[in-house]
Point group: C2
Chain length 351, copies 2
DNA sequence: CGCTGGCACTCGTCCTAATGGAGTGCTAAT
DNA sequence: ATTAGCACTCCATTAGGACGAGTGCCAGCG
């Protein structure tokens, strides 16, 4: 019944052409079109037989009896995993990326720049997570009294990122005391990762309870509040959402609304992006693969980015399932590498 | 031809009923419906005559020959200006606002909270501009060397707002020098408004060129860079955009896209909101009145908010022209007042 | 056994025509 | 000034039919 070898070279090639053609013009593609496009010299009837096989395998699907075929999620998956021929970046795009993400360009918002580049180059939505705090180095910390026991903590990490948080202290501190505490913390914690600091703080509090002076103890207590774990407000920068409104597969208002609501809830998207942190290199979620209903008709092409060989964040592109993967992938790939390089604190003088 | 007094009491009342009814169910309202609703005991024919008059005056408009009437922009304008009966806030909403915007609740993001409240209560989009920097007081400034001539400036204004900016200095400073400069600037400028500081800096640079020490001169120069006028990146917090996607008048994808693009461009919206800073109290832009094509089918209900009797920002609600103005206005009004109060630095101890 | 041409069939799309209903404008009567 | 009545306009919905694209299947061919 059928072929001895169902997924032979020829069917794969035809699937590839089908996906490519569908990505191009968005119309279900019929047997006649494939027959003409391919240099296989096969009649439409033969193509139809192959299509029937592919449909049995769940790789393509017919919207209705007399329409052509459209790739299913599995079809796309097979396509991107084994059939795809990635196109190298155009040189003008490459130089644009290089210039915009060079270390010298310190707009103070490299993350935002990266996101904007992704969305502009791909004409879809670009997303970049902020670098994981845990893996980021403290450069400087500062306390500022606001009123009574409310103290504003300001700390700078890596290159140019400034974070601030309000904490409530158990006693009232004078500005001088705060200054002293900051000096102390800077002297012992500066240059270490937030994660390491958090552990060190706990250890210091337990072990050295009676050894250290009261002032130092206060300082460490404040550090504990400042670097509180609950504080990890993971966040991302998303740009070009409006680009998504042009795509016909998202022209359904309900879908679009769900998608945009997911964007502003953030947590769902963050969870999804977090999964991409584990692997490095480009990773792709197609349609329902993501598990989030709001993303059912979208694909997500991501790559983690690293600073000194340590994965610290994820960036990617969000668009309709029907996107030009072979172009998007290199964009994401290169942007991730350049962003990692731009964030690398090699050229930074220690504080 | 027609009435001696075209816009008499009765026509106004009918216009009011028409607008109210249209706002309710979104359908063009016909003469029969108005006849039944009103307690005027007028026949549909009479109503039709009145409607014809109102149409001549440009207050209502017929989508097509055999449809009812719909208010025009001028009609809405007349309605909100003179016919509207504002509904007082429901007490549960009032207490919600009070609790969320009370001074004690320092999430560090009062602006964001206000915006979220507006969008949730009205089920439309809420927008709040950040307080104008010019009118905001400096509490503390700090310099941090990043590398070579790149210096990170951190300054705190009013209550809890932290700003930061990277400047390029003409010479290389040691951390100790930076600390000294910050101390000096804090001692002379702390507590003054950014606007005042900017002027003082100019004066100091011109007049006291030779009098002051080199260190102080450097400090003032850095202050100039830090408070550079170009630095006024006016910004706003917008929430609940997705609420707008439910409205039928915005279900046109092109319109929606234009609107959302305007939201992310920001400058246009900011310019619009700036105009509302001049007047205090609630102000309304209806449809094309705003002058921005993207807002053609939207209305904007705004109010400026003030800290110690000085207008510092604007907040408001964005929704379709067909919105329940009588409910929205008090929401905006009260939120503006409470936000102003929450920002008031009365309970703050000087630094 | 794989490939192909032919044929009937299914659907979606587009156009047309017909119908019903809502609401108007106008006119003549009160 | 108001009203009832009437003709009229226009939208929305429905139904029908033609068209085209594409399929599935079958029988024949190398």
């Amino acid at each position: 019944m059928g072929n001895t070898q169902v997924l032979n070279e020829r069917s794969l090639q035809l699937l590839k052409m089908l996906v490519e053609r569908y990505i191009n013009d968005g119309q279900p593609v019929g047997s006649r079109a494939l027959s003409k496009d391919s240099d296989l010299n096969l009649s439409p009837a033969t193509i139809r037989n192959v299509m029937a096989d592919l449909e049995d395998l769940g790789l393509v699907h017919s919207p209705h009896t007399s329409a052509g075929r459209v790739p299913t999620v599995s079809g796309y998956r097979l396509f991107v995993d084994t059939l795809l021929t990635v196109k190298p970046l155009e040189s003008k795009d490459l130089t644009l990326l290089h210039q915009s993400l060079s270390v010298s360009e310190d707009t103070g918002d490299v993350i935002g720049v990266a996101s904007r580049l992704l969305s502009e180059l791909t004409q879809m939505a670009g997303v970049v997570t902020l670098p994981k705090r845990e893996l980021v180095c403290l450069r400087h910390i500062e306390f500022l009294s606001l009123s009574h026991t409310r103290v504003l903590v300001i700390f700078v990490t890596n290159e140019q990122e400034v974070h601030n948080k309000i904490i409530h202290t158990s006693k009232v501190f004078s500005p001088a005391e705060l200054q002293q505490a900051a000096n102390y913390l800077n002297s012992i914690y500066s240059g270490r990762s937030l994660d390491a600091i958090r552990k060190a703080v706990l250890k210091d509090l337990q072990e050295d309870q009676e050894r250290v002076s009261q002032g130092m103890l206060d300082a460490v207590k404040m550090a504990q509040l400042a670097f509180d774990h609950s504080n990890k407000k993971d966040d991302y920068v998303l740009t070009g959402e409006t680009n998504l409104m042009g795509f016909s597969e998202l022209s359904d208002m309900d879908r679009l609304k769900n998608l945009f609501e997911a964007f502003s809830q953030k947590q769902g998207v963050i969870h999804l992006l977090d999964q991409c942190m584990k692997a490095d290199g480009v990773q792709i979620f197609i349609g329902e693969e993501s598990g989030y209903r709001a993303f059912d008709h979208c694909s997500l092409v991501t790559s983690s980015y690293s600073v000194s060989d340590e994965v610290v964040g994820v960036l990617g592109v969000i668009g309709p399932t029907r996107m030009a993967y072979e172009k998007i992938i290199p964009y994401v790939d290169v942007t991730a590498k350049l962003l990692g390089a731009a964030l690398n604190p090699k050229s930074t003088t220690p504080l």
